[in-house]
C-alpha cells in the first residue's frame, strides 16, 4: 500500500521572487504523525496548501493516499481532512449546522450527517454548545470544532496546520490531548505543522525540520536529539578562572568534549551527563578552581535546530522581516 503522503522536489515561488519552497521532500507513513517543524515563513503552510490541492507547485510531485495531487485533486479531496490556521467555521451558524453542512458536502445523507455531527460533538466535549452560534465559542472550543469539521467524513489523512497557535496554555494542553488521542487511530495519518518546539516534541512520532523551504533534518524527536551525541554540561563560577587551567583540567577526562569557555561559564558535551558531572567537579577541585554551580541538560530540539539550520530557533523566528512574516502568516 502506498504511503499516506509522498512529496518530492516541491518548489513554489511567489510574486516578488519569494521562494517559499525550494525542493522540499516529505513522506508520511500510514497511521503516522509527522511533525513539520520550522519557524514562521519556513514553508510549512505552503506545503500544506499544495498537499491539500489549494495551490499548485511550480515544480515537484506529490501524492496523498496514492492519489496524484496535481492530476487527481478531486480524489485527494475525498480522503483528506484539513484543519487550517484560520478556522473557516461559519460564526453565525451553530456547531451542529457547521458539521451537518460539512457532512453534506462529502455526500452524507441527512440522517448520517446529523448522527456524525452528534458523535463528533460528544467526542470533542461540545455537546452542550452544539446548538449555539460558533461566535459564542471560546478559542479552544472553536479549534476543537475545527478538528471535528476535518474529521466528519472519516479521512485517511488529516492536516493540522498550526493547530494551537493563539490558544492559551490550558486550551493548548487540551488540544494536545485530543491530537494524542487521534494518534491512537491506526487508520489515520496526520501531518502536523508547528513552530512550537515543545508541541513537535510531544506529538510527532517523526519530525521533519524545515528551514528556508527545504527539509534540513528528519527523524524521531529522540533520534534527532540522540544524534547530537550527549548531554550539555554547564559549569559556573563566581569569578572567571584562567581558561588554560580549565582546559587542562577537563582535557584529560574521558567522554567530555567540545569544551567552550565564556567568562565565568563553561559548557561541554558528555555522552552521559549525569555520570560526567562528579568527575568534572572532582577535576576542577583538584585544579584549585572549585565550581559554584553545575547543571546537566538533555539535548533539546532547539539544539537540533541549531545544528541543522545553523541558528537558534527563536532567532530564526524573530529574524523574519515583517513582510516575510506577514506573507508567511497568509500562506
Amino acid at each position: 500500500m502506498a504511503h499516506a503522503i509522498e512529496a518530492a522536489g516541491l518548489v513554489k515561488t511567489y510574486p516578488g521572487d519569494v521562494r517559499a519552497l525550494d525542493g522540499l521532500a516529505v513522506t508520511v507513513g500510514r497511521g503516522e504523525i509527522l511533525g513539520l517543524l520550522g519557524p514562521n515563513g519556513a514553508g510549512k503552510s505552503t506545503t500544506v496548501k499544495i498537499l491539500t490541492t489549494l495551490i499548485r507547485p511550480d515544480a515537484g510531485a506529490a501524492a496523498v493516499a496514492g492519489h496524484d495531487v496535481l492530476r487527481r485533486p478531486d480524489r485527494v479531496r475525498r480522503v483528506i481532512g484539513v484543519v487550517s490556521q484560520r478556522s473557516g467555521a461559519d460564526p453565525d451558524a451553530s456547531g451542529v449546522a457547521n458539521l451537518v453542512l460539512q457532512g453534506r458536502l462529502y455526500g452524507l445523507g441527512g440522517g448520517d450527517a446529523r448522527r456524525r455531527a452528534a458523535e463528533l460533538l460528544a467526542r470533542f466535549g461540545l455537546e452542550d454548545a452544539g446548538s449555539r452560534p460558533v461566535k459564542t465559542y471560546s478559542g479552544g472550543m472553536r479549534r476543537r470544532l475545527d478538528v471535528a469539521l476535518g474529521l466528519v467524513h472519516r479521512p485517511q489523512v488529516l492536516f493540522l496546520d498550526e493547530p494551537t497557535t493563539g490558544l492559551d496554555p490550558e486550551a493548548r494542553a487540551s488540544m494536545w490531548a485530543e491530537i494524542a488521542r487521534l494518534a491512537g487511530d491506526d487508520a489515520l495519518a496526520i501531518l502536523l505543522t508547528t513552530h512550537y518546539l515543545e508541541e513537535a516534541d510531544r506529538l510527532a512520532q517523526r519530525l521533519a525540520i524545515v528551514d528556508r523551504g527545504r527539509v534540513v533534518a528528519e527523524g524521531t524527536p529522540d533520534g534527532l536529539k540522540g544524534e547530537l551525541r550527549g548531554d550539555a554540561v554547564h559549569v559556573e563560577w563566581a569569578e572567571a578562572p584562567p581558561e588554560p587551567l580549565l582546559r587542562e583540567a577537563l582535557g584529560r577526562l574521558p567522554g567530555v568534549r567540545e569544551v567552550v569557555v565564556d567568562g565565568p561559564r563553561l559548557s561541554a558535551r558528555a555522552d552521559d551527563g549525569a555520570a560526567a558531572v562528579p568527575a568534572v567537579l572532582a577535576a576542577l577541585d583538584q585544579a584549585g578552581v572549585p565550581a559554584a554551580a553545575a547543571t546537566v541538560a538533555r539535548p533539546s530540539l532547539d539544539d537540533v535546530y541549531l545544528r541543522y539550520a545553523g541558528r537558534r530557533f527563536a532567532h530564526a523566528d524573530a529574524a523574519q522581516t515583517p513582510e516575510a512574516a506577514a506573507a508567511g502568516g497568509a500562506r
Binding site: 511567489y14 475525498r78 487550517s84 478556522s87 473557516g88 467555521a89 453542512l101 460539512q102 458536502l105
Partner: protein, 258 residues
C-alpha cells in the same frame, strides 16, 4: 452533473439560511431606493411636462429606474461578503472539500438573484402604493424583475471577481462609489432618452443599466414591444454569462496566488 447540482444546493442552502437568520439586512438596504423613489419622484415630478418626455406620470417612469439602480447598488457589495469568507478561511475550507468551484459561484448567483427579486418586488409594490401604474402588468413586471436580477448578477460577479483578484475592501468600495452614479445617470433611469444631450445618449446606449431599462420598459408599456424587450434582454443575458464566467475563472487565479 449531479455533484454540481447537489453542491450548488448545499452551498445555496447555507447562504439562504444565513439570510433568513438576519432578514433585517434585506429591509434596511431598502432605505436607499425608498429615498430615490419618493424624493426623486416628488422633486422631479414636473419633468414629464417637458415636451418630448413621452410619459404623463414621473413615478410611472422612475419605478423601473429605481428597481434597476437598487439591483446595481445592492449587488456591487457582494464582494465584501466574499472578502469575509476569504479572511475567515471559509472559502479555503470549501475548496479542500469535493464541492465544485462552480457550485460555490452558483450559490452566490442564486442568493443574489433571490434577494434582488425580493427587493425589486417590494419597490414595485411601494411604487404602486405611491400611485404608479404598470400597464404591462402580468407580463411586464416579471420582465422588470428578471432584468433587475440579471443586472444584479452581473454586478455581483464583477464585485466577487475584484474580491478574489485584488483582495482589498477599499478597492471594492472605491469602485462601487465610482460606478454607481455614472451607471445610473448615464442611463435612461431618471431621464427620457429624447431629452438627453447627444453624448450622454450615445454613452447610455452602451450602458447595461439602459439595456435592462429598455427591456423592462418595453415589456411594461401598455402596448408591450416584445421585440425590443427580447433584443435588450439578450444583450444583458450575454453580459451576465460573461461576468459569471469571469468570476469562476477568478477562483482559479485566486488559487494560484494565495
Amino acid at each position: 452533473m449531479t455533484a454540481l447540482v447537489t453542491g450548488t444546493w448545499w452551498m445555496t442552502h447555507r447562504r439562504l439560511t444565513a439570510l433568513l437568520r438576519n432578514p433585517a439586512v434585506l429591509v434596511l438596504t431598502l432605505a436607499q431606493p425608498m429615498i430615490w423613489l419618493f424624493l426623486f419622484g416628488e422633486l422631479f415630478k414636473k419633468v414629464v411636462e417637458l415636451p418630448g418626455f413621452g410619459t404623463q406620470s414621473y413615478i410611472d417612469y422612475i419605478v423601473p429606474g429605481v428597481v434597476i439602480m437598487n439591483a446595481v447598488s445592492l449587488n456591487s457589495f457582494a464582494g465584501m461578503a466574499t472578502m469575509d469568507e476569504i479572511e475567515r478561511g471559509t472559502l479555503n475550507r470549501f475548496l479542500v472539500t469535493p464541492v465544485r468551484r462552480s457550485a460555490i459561484a452558483n450559490a452566490g448567483v442564486v442568493e443574489q438573484a433571490i434577494s434582488t427579486a425580493f427587493q425589486s418586488l417590494v419597490i414595485v409594490l411601494l411604487g404602486w402604493a405611491a400611485g404608479a401604474h404598470y400597464p404591462g402588468g402580468a407580463a411586464g413586471l416579471p420582465a422588470l424583475v428578471a432584468a433587475a436580477v440579471l443586472v444584479g448578477v452581473v454586478l455581483a460577479a464583477l464585485s466577487n471577481t475584484l474580491a478574489l483578484l485584488v483582495r482589498d475592501r477599499n478597492t471594492i468600495i472605491g469602485l462601487n462609489v465610482m460606478l454607481l452614479l455614472p451607471l445610473t445617470f448615464l442611463s435612461s433611469a431618471f431621464m427620457a432618452k429624447g431629452l438627453m444631450p447627444p453624448w450622454i445618449r450615445h454613452v447610455s446606449a452602451a450602458n447595461p443599466v439602459s439595456w435592462a431599462l429598455d427591456a423592462a420598459r418595453a415589456a411594461l408599456s401598455a402596448d408591450p414591444d416584445w421585440g425590443s424587450a427580447a433584443l435588450h434582454g439578450s444583450w444583458l443575458l450575454v453580459l451576465t454569462v460573461a461576468a459569471v464566467s469571469l468570476a469562476i475563472f477568478s477562483f482559479r487565479s485566486y488559487q494560484r496566488s494565495q
